[in-house]
Amino acid sequence: MYRYDDFDRQLVLERTEQFREQVKRRLAGDITEEQFRPLRLMNGVYLQLHAYMLRVAVPYGTLRADQLRQLGMIARKYDKGYGHFTTRQNIQYNWPKLDEIPDALLDLAKVEMHAIQTSGNCIRNTTTDQYAGAAADEIEDPRPYCELIRQWSTFHPEFTYLPRKFKIAVTGSPNDRAAVKVHDIGLRMHQNDAGETGFEVMVGGGLGRTPFVGKTIREFIGKNDLFSYLEAILRVYNRFGRRDNKYKARIKILVHEEGIDKIRELVEEEWAQIKDGSLRVDDAEIAHYIEQFAPPAFEALSDDDADFERHKAENRRFANWVRSNVIEHKQPGYAIANVSLKPIGGIPGDATDSQMELVADLSEKYSFGDVRVTHEQNLVLPHVKKADLFAVWSELDKAELGTANLGYVTDIISCPGLDYCALATARSIPLSQRISERFGDLDRQHDIGELKIKISGCINACGHHHVGHIGILGLDKRGKEFYQITLGGDASEDAAIGKIAGAGFSEAEVVDAIESLVTKYIDIRESGERFIDTYRRVGMDPFKEVLYGDR
């Protein structure tokens, strides 16, 4: 895993001091709230409904044990004892006090963490596959490139006041677990005809009120040229992106209005002028970063473990957890263990201080001190010996972290909604809790199989409802919350934006509506079909009929 050197450390400390100074100037009235706003946002500090909120960056979703432990400590010291993991692989604290935030940032800096650029109209935290470096289907670990992107984008002097926020996601695997097609820039590693590994570059994807699947601007860019190419895209966006309307300011609108061919022409023209410049990264430098993400010291093991098999045979709950939450590892004898932050009836993505500390301890003991945060708001222990899985699960289970529901109907993505957020038009968390309770029975969930429900509390779509197999959008109609259902969305390599099924449902009706969709799917599915497969085969009509009948 990447360790800061003295340059990285110095930069974060200087930033912390800079923000302390800015807070001081704000509290003294030397700068207005309006002038302070972009400064606090650039340091991850939002003003929410009830309090300030601090969003801490987890670069490419990778945490060391000591970092996660510190996140737990911060939850206890500066918040009410919990934190919320987000769809951007970050963590949010909902109740910090403004005058204490500089101290919280200093505590973060002690473990090489920060809240830099987790908000504001700048390049945000780069996200990637949570199984990077562990997945069996991976072409190459994307994290060295993510770290290079992190450095390139941190305090980029030219791109700190962009038309709007800018999100980059990278996948090193053909099976896209990082939703790269719904990011401003999506990068997919693949090999060209010459056998070199590089990136397909997609641009203009995004959710929000105008969702788009990203379009390919370049089939292949070599690793050495990636950074100059990113700079060319950003420069074109900074110069030509719309600034007259904040809802039309994302690069997806520029791509949509000008057309991908025109944008490609501008980017290629710009790139031609900078590609041989100082942003070209040579192989030796890349090798240096690859080395920092070198695989841990795996033991040479047989892929079969008798004790593991015995525990599965003897303990049905453990076997269920293995079936849903444990994923194949590239190294024989090892497995990827997903830690669900979606207990039945719980708040999606929330973790308490002691839960964070427990996962940190387990990672140290069983996973080389490596923990990941997923964009689906769960945690991962990426490198666990199969022989240790039972011990890991037993500890997780005691701490209510052993729910066997990864990818199932209760593994819901939800934004904070009207319980916290100043932008929300409806509550998301209570609805996700009620859906979770309705489908809580594990046998039923396993029978339903993979089904991704995603809930947003307003059209800004932080809960990714557009790409939910079933998406739910909370709106406000004359002072009453109601919920619009979309079907057929997908965040994977087969990315698709869901279609609105019809009129919205009241808070009282919506859970029944979801259940009727699931029942219909069970009735008509063919063998091996997931909900999304059935939807693709039969289309909207059969589902619409169960929702609305003759209505």
């Binding site: 050197d5 340059f7 002097p157």
Partner: protein, 172 residues
């Protein structure tokens, strides 16, 4: 109200004119908006006084390619500090087009953006505060950070090149 350049407060020696209206006498130093420069180029270049051009958001610095050596100053207007187009104009002018005259940020120029402007090639700042206050703001802003990741044309050494140097020393 105060212009800071090269660690000191300097006099305003330029008259900025609008897109239309009469030009001052031929001896005055003039800054004209790009659109007007393009329209009245020959007249403007024939005057006795110094000449500068102001870029507004949406302008293309490339339009000045043939005339850069005739311009003593280019001002880039930031009508609101949130409009970051001027940062790209600065880098294009300095790093691509090789402009060596004064590059001045005008408009909503605030302390917390000055370091970024400097990194993008600006060397003077027109601040809406009085002399010493302006000077202190610029001084504080420019020394707030000492580590830089991006290679830009400002000549600051990047973390990456320092790392390479260190590795080279260790290997020798």
């Amino acid at each position: 109200m105060a212009i800071v350049k090269n660690d000191s407060v300097i006099e305003q020696e330029w008259i900025t004119v609008d897109a239309e209206g009469d030009l001052p006498s031929s001896d005055e130093n003039l800054i004209v908006p790009l659109a007007r420069f393009k329209e009245e180029r020959d007249v403007l270049l024939g005057r006795n006084g110094g000449l500068g051009v102001q870029l507004n958001p949406g302008d293309a610095p490339e339009d000045l390619a043939d005339d850069l050596d005739r311009l003593s100053i280019i001002t880039v207007n930031f009508p609101a500090y949130t409009d970051g187009r001027g940062y790209s104009y600065g880098r294009v002018l300095r790093e691509r087009m090789g402009f060596t005259g004064e590059l001045r940020a005008v408009g909503d120029v605030l302390r917390d953006q000055i370091l970024y402007m400097h990194r993008c090639g600006f060397d003077s700042y027109d601040l809406q505060v009085e002399g010493d206050v302006a000077l202190n703001k610029v001084r504080a802003a420019l020394k707030e950070m000492s580590v830089y990741y991006q290679p830009t044309g400002d000549g600051r050494v990047t973390a990456q090149s320092l790392r390479e140097r260190r590795r080279a020393v260790l290997q020798s």
